[in-house]
């Protein structure tokens, strides 16, 4: 990346954004008919599909069944053509397993689990194109898919990443900015209550700067929440309008 400045003197990043601007987000609910809920999200060049099945009877080993709450089962998988360099295996490697576990923890906190004892909810995420912020896009897509499936949630779950370059926190970092070697902070919050569900930070960041970067990331999450909420409202209105005319 020689010669590529992550943040120019005028305050522009490589893709022309300013430090506080998110990438363009486009999303759609109800992509597949067979899944109970599905959603597709595009954050810049990162494209993620999520599908939710459930709640349904626990498949596989009955031992995993929880008597008082629902079992949340996740899988994070990347298409082999999603990255610049072709990936040999879509899932099963350490990174995917780690992401799977993080997703499970996140949604265990957000879904109202005691409503479905002895059932199972499956959340499957497939990354079609990866350009940084995979985990964040996955969380956002999974939230939309859960809402599409009608599964009760305490609140939306929004995730955003942030970095720190030239003493400026930058929000929603792309793949080039990630590989630039600077610190990366991923935060997942429940926007209404502003509670942090998941927090991860890579590389080195001085603790004085931590609160600045955290603030920027949280603000990014709230902006994403506004966009997702708008998309959900539009979708519900559009579908209900058709249904209402036939009532």
């Amino acid at each position: 990346m020689a010669g590529l400045e992550l943040l120019s003197d005028q305050g522009f990043r490589i893709d022309g954004r300013r430090s506080h601007e998110l990438r363009k987000i486009q999303c759609r609910l109800g992509v597949f008919k067979q899944a109970d809920g599905s959603a597709y999200i595009e954050q810049g060049n990162t494209k993620v599909l999520a599908a939710v099945y459930g709640p349904h009877e626990v498949k596989g080993s009955r031992a995993k069944m929880l008597q008082d709450k629902v079992l949340v089962n996740c899988q994070y998988s990347m298409a082999t053509f999603s990255t610049g360099e072709r990936k040999r295996r879509p899932r099963g490697d350490r990174k995917s397993t780690e992401m799977t576990m993080h997703l499970k923890q996140t949604f265990d906190a957000a879904i109202i689990t005691n409503l479905y004892p002895r059932s199972q909810i499956d959340i499957y995420v497939e990354v079609l194109q990866s350009d940084g912020g995979n985990y964040c896009a996955s969380v956002n897509a999974a939230t939309l898919a859960l809402i599409d499936a009608g599964i009760p949630l305490k609140d939306y779950v929004c995730a955003c990443s942030a970095g720190f370059v030239n003493d400026t926190p930058i929000v929603d970092i792309s793949y080039l900015e990630e590989s630039g070697g600077g610190p990366e902070l991923i935060v997942t919050i429940l926007p209404k209550s502003e509670q942090i569900v998941f927090l991860e930070q890579n590389s080195r960041l001085h603790e004085d700067n931590l609160s600045k970067v955290l603030d920027v990331a949280s603000k990014g999450c709230k902006d994403i929440y506004a966009i997702l909420d708008r998309a959900v409202r539009d979708h519900v209105s559009k579908v209900s309008n058709v249904a209402n005319t036939t009532e």
């Binding site: 486009q26 759609r28 992509v31 597949f32 008919k33 067979q34 899944a35 599905s38 597709y40 595009e42 060049n45 494209k47 599909l49 999520a50 599908a51 099945y53 498949k59 089962n73 899988q75 998988s77 298409a79 082999t80 053509f81 999603s82 990255t83 610049g84 072709r86 879509p90 899932r91 099963g92 499956d122 499957y124 497939e126 079609l128 194109q129 350009d131």
Partner: protein, 292 residues
Amino acid sequence: MADVNYSEAEKTFILHGIQDKFPCREDGRGCEDYRHMEIETGVVSNTSGSARLRLANTDILVGVKAELGVPSPEKPDSGCIEFFVDCSANATPEFEGRGGEELATEISTVLSRCYDNSGCLDLKSLCIIPKQQCWILYIDVLLLECGGNLFDAASIGVKAALYNTRIPNVTVNQEDDEMEIELSDDPYDVNRLDISSSPCIVTLSKIGHYHVVDASQKEEACCLARLMMGVTAKGTISALKKEGWGSLNPESIFDMMETGKKIGQVLNTSLLNVLEEEEKSGNKRKTVGFLK
């Protein structure tokens, strides 16, 4: 391919429908009709070529990546193609983890067998320096939703993705005994592949005494045996595979082959027409992907 058991009565209903003088399948199609298909190329940007196919409920995404590599010692002057199929858990919870591996290997073996023919794809054009460097095409098929007839859909997706593939032009500079390869950076200085003789798989399912094309999931559960054939636009068969636990009469096989050839030709020509039409609309069209 959900393992739903269907009742005897349902299967009988489908069976009788096909044996009728005027065959009427569950959704009103005849024995040789395909369901509605929609295709779009160029959906994934960091690939050399991609395509998305929707055949009723079946949803397939194909990505082609071209990488430089060493040719195989048996064929030093041609490039290689490698197929990889991934059954995403999005399609059904049974594909979670390694659940879909069996199906995936089946599909990729059939695809490689179809393309194993030198007449299908001109692999010699992929060679850069004989014995040293060639292009290797990695064709990755991602199964997003299963609605029956996966093999046909996968092959149509692959053909469309190959049509959409753009391989950068390579100049070989020879200095003394060293050969240097230079990849062109110009996005318009590319080579395309000639897919006019690439095959499409046509699956014929034998239900009762007759055979149908493009079986839905229910029909697949009723069929005793299937014949998969790779058919090119000219009607030549590049591969043949019989699957299923039932047995087939040699006459039935010949009948099915004739039908398959006829249908394969129609399929190939329609596909090529659509791909050319899509390309002609050029920059005016916006990539829709999954957004609509």
